[in-house]
């Protein structure tokens, strides 16, 4: 249901990091904690994208998407070997 957590990939607009953050991971974490206090980042991505992955409920994901500095929130997808 609504409370079931799923993994999401969060794409951050790193160029718009607020001035009061020196470290982008602290900014990511603060943004995440604003919608889900207990959530932790699974990975932070620093090269091919700017962002992180985490587990959220659907409501939390929707709420996070509205936060400043968030470009996009995509639910995890399973890929297959060919």
């Amino acid at each position: 249901g609504q409370n079931q957590k799923k993994t999401y990939i969060i794409y951050m607009d790193k160029s718009n990091i607020p001035a009061d953050f020196d470290d982008h991971t602290l900014w990511y974490d603060s943004s995440l904690k604003s919608v889900s206090k207990g959530a932790n980042m699974l990975y932070t991505y620093n090269n091919v994208i700017h962002g992180y992955s985490t587990q959220l409920t659907a409501d939390e994901a929707k709420s996070l998407e509205q936060q400043p500095g968030i470009l996009s929130v995509h639910e995890e997808v399973r890929y297959e070997l060919h």
């Binding site: 990939i9 699974l42 090269n47 091919v48 995509h74 997808v77 399973r78 890929y79 297959e80 060919h82």
Partner: protein, 661 residues
């Protein structure tokens, strides 16, 4: 792999010597995102390799059954990414899966060794496909990124693997995996691939095994090289001789106690079961009294092919004929079955079943023919190989090219037997498997060879060289066939054709692309600034007053989707005129190239302007336009053509695909 280096012309004296020289002085690193690696494979022997490249920032991650010493100067990096998998499935059960870079599956070892395995003499699977095995770039270094687990490959893990591989300093990324069709800004392989390509990394991906249905491709982004699969000139025949004297051939990698040479009773599984799908030989579905001591015909589908043999064995059967149904046609898949088995195509399967139905005492023999080389025609497009048109951007032709992907022998894990079944306790150093997963690392390795020979070439230039020198006809001039139809294949099946590495070394001209070209492409797709930023990581403002056209992406092939006229316009004779612009960069000596076009449909007019391009120095660029004038055709009509630029020495070829929708 055995055979494919010869089939691709890598073992010719001249090309072998050139590639070896180029490779030994270079330090190309191939990152393989897959199920991990079996470091004890002989294909990771580092004898003769120099120190690990100075630029390398990767590491050998320690974990279950994996030590720092598992890496060497060949396998220079190994990492694993399981956070997404564990978040979805719970903690990894370390009694069944290694929480480490170790490959418990075999797929990752197979792909890594195909791309860059060292030379191993005396390789074979139970004597099948025997020979000297080597990866395409046998002197390149390998880094394994384990992102796939028993429960699948999760996008958060794949993205983490790509992120780290780029940071570590790979030159080529090889991904034999894919997801469902989705827009580029939602597909992490496309997103990660964009950044990798922007940093000079060649990204090679499998096209998928969704063939022969059209539009079945994955990994279709234009910054990715999308690889379909073809056969080689090698088969593993099995011979079936029925009691009525009819003979059929199939394939098999069975190795074990032979069947009696006398004829044996034959039964169709569908007649030896009370289950509604008893014909498929699913677990426990066969009635022992009806199959005991007999050879059983099982239909392909639902459960694993080799598992059907175990079901037959458990019910007392002594052998199996595995018959394709209409889902698979006549494409044959060779497996290392645990009981004497021959796999046959649908045509033969139907005739065998008809014989069983018509004879009160059906009998058969199965004999195994080992390895047969020199099979013609070859290559043939594999039925399973995913096909175009490109489902995301029909104006970009995909797949880009095909490479060997059927019955490929390469390195394997020591954890599971060649069938992957838990009951299969056989330990093999090499296994023979099929898929676009197998063709992709062939191209990854070949790209590494080109990168070694031409370090200054961009990923797009390397792809262009591989594509424009590929061949789409046999030596007799006939088009490469498609197993699915038995007819000629088209560029929607084979892209620019079959890879030809010796020719790709010296393509004459290339269609190069920069990051800005790809960003213009995204603008042409009408992506919003935030969608573009997800992919490109920077603010891009597509200009309102500029016309962005997908058709102008400097791609080495052409796809022209055309609309069918409807209603009052149905009889309109007004033709559609489409203009494409391309720029060629000289990577050879000064020369004058002339354009020539061959087309199978005369009603489509193709005009190239100018007809001649003269290059007086290296890196010089020249632009030309192609104008396609086509009248309306019924929806579903396709037609194909080919544009070639030649200076008499080089042929720079581009496939052209028209499709009316």
């Amino acid at each position: 792999t055995t055979r494919s280096p010869t089939f691709l012309g890598l073992e010719g004296r001249e090309s072998k010597s050139f590639f070896l020289q180029a490779e030994t002085r270079s330090e190309v690193i191939i990152g393989v995102l897959d199920t991990g690696v079996w470091p004890e494979s002989k294909s990771f022997d580092d004898t003769g390799l120099g120190p690990v490249p100075m630029s390398w920032k990767g590491e050998c991650q320690i974990g279950k059954n994996f030590k720092a010493s598992s890496c060497n100067r060949k396998l220079i990096g190994a990492r694993f990414f399981s956070q997404g998998y564990e978040a979805a499935f719970g903690a990894i059960d370390e009694t069944t899966e290694s929480k480490s870079p170790r490959d418990d599956d075999g797929h990752g070892t197979h792909t890594a060794t195909t791309a860059a395995g060292s030379v191993v003499t005396g390789a074979s699977l139970f004597g099948y496909a025997a020979g000297t095995a080597r990866g395409m770039a046998s002197h390149a270094r390998v880094a394994a990124y384990k992102v796939c687990w028993a429960g699948g490959c999760f996008s958060s893990d794949i993205l983490a693997g790509m992120d780290q591989a780029v940071i570590d300093g790979v030159n080529v990324l090889s991904l034999s995996l894919g997801g469902t069709i989705s827009d580029y800004y939602r597909d992490i392989v496309a997103i990660g691939g964009f950044s990798a390509a922007s940093q000079g990394i060649f990204v090679s991906c499998s096209a998928g095994n969704g063939g022969p249905g059209s539009g079945s491709l994955s990994n279709a982004a234009p910054w990715i090289t999308t690889v379909g699969a073809g056969t080689m000139d090698r088969e593993f025949p099995a011979y079936i001789s029925l009691g009525n004297g009819k003979k059929f051939s199939g394939v098999s990698l069975y190795s074990g106690k032979a069947l009696p040479s006398s004829v044996m009773p034959l039964v169709y599984a569908g007649n030896a079961s009370q289950a509604s799908n008893g014909n498929l030989c699913t677990s426990g579905s066969l009635i022992p009294e009806k199959v005991d001591g007999k050879i059983v015909v099982c239909d392909r589908g639902m459960n694993a092919r080799a598992q059907k043999g175990l079901v037959v064995k458990d019910a007392g059967g002594i052998g199996m004929i595995l018959a394709n149904t209409d889902s698979y046609g006549d494409e044959l898949v060779a497996d290392a079955h645990l009981i004497p088995t021959a796999a046959v195509g649908q045509t033969a399967g139907d005739l065998i079943k008809r014989y069983i139905a018509s004879d009160s005492n059906p009998t058969t023999t199965i004999a195994f023919g080992g390895t047969k080389l020199g099979v013609q025609p070859s290559p043939v497009v594999a039925a399973f190989s995913s096909r175009g048109p490109n489902p995301i951007t029909p104006e970009i032709l995909k797949p880009d090219l095909i490479a060997p992907g059927v019955n490929i022998l390469a390195g394997w894990t020591g954890k599971v037997g060649p069938t992957g079944l838990p009951e299969d306790t056989r330990n093999v150093g090499f296994n023979i498997i099929s898929g676009t997963s197998m063709s992709c690392p062939h191209v990854s390795g070949l790209a590494a060879l080109l990168k070694a020979a031409h370090p200054e070439w961009s990923p797009a230039a390397i792809r262009s060289a591989l594509m424009t020198t590929g061949y789409s006809t046999y030596k007799n001039g006939k088009m490469i066939e498609d197993v699915a139809t038995g007819m000629s294949s088209t560029p929607f099946d084979h892209g620019a054709g079959h890879v030809n590495p010796a020719a790709a070394l010296n393509p004459g001209l290339v269609y190069d692309l920069t990051v800005d070209d790809y960003i213009n492409f995204l603008c042409a797709l009408d992506y919003s600034p935030s969608m573009i930023k997800v992919i490109a990581k920077r603010d891009i403002s597509c200009e309102n007053n500029k016309e962005y056209r997908v058709a102008d992406l400097n791609y080495p092939s052409f796809a022209i989707p055309l609309e069918t006229a409807w209603g009052e316009h149905a009889n309109s004779s007004a033709p559609t005129v489409t203009r494409y612009t391309r720029t060629l960069t000289n990577v050879g000596n000064p020369a004058t190239y002339k354009a020539s076009v061959s087309s199978e449909m005369q009603e489509v007019k193709i005009q190239v302007e100018p007809q001649t391009l003269t290059f007086s120095r290296k890196k010089e660029k020249k632009t030309y336009t192609v104008t396609f004038t086509a009248s309306s055709k019924p929806s579903g009509t396709t037609s194909f053509a080919r544009l070639e630029w030649s200076d008499g020495q080089h042929v720079v070829a581009s496939p052209i695909a028209f499709s009316w929708t």
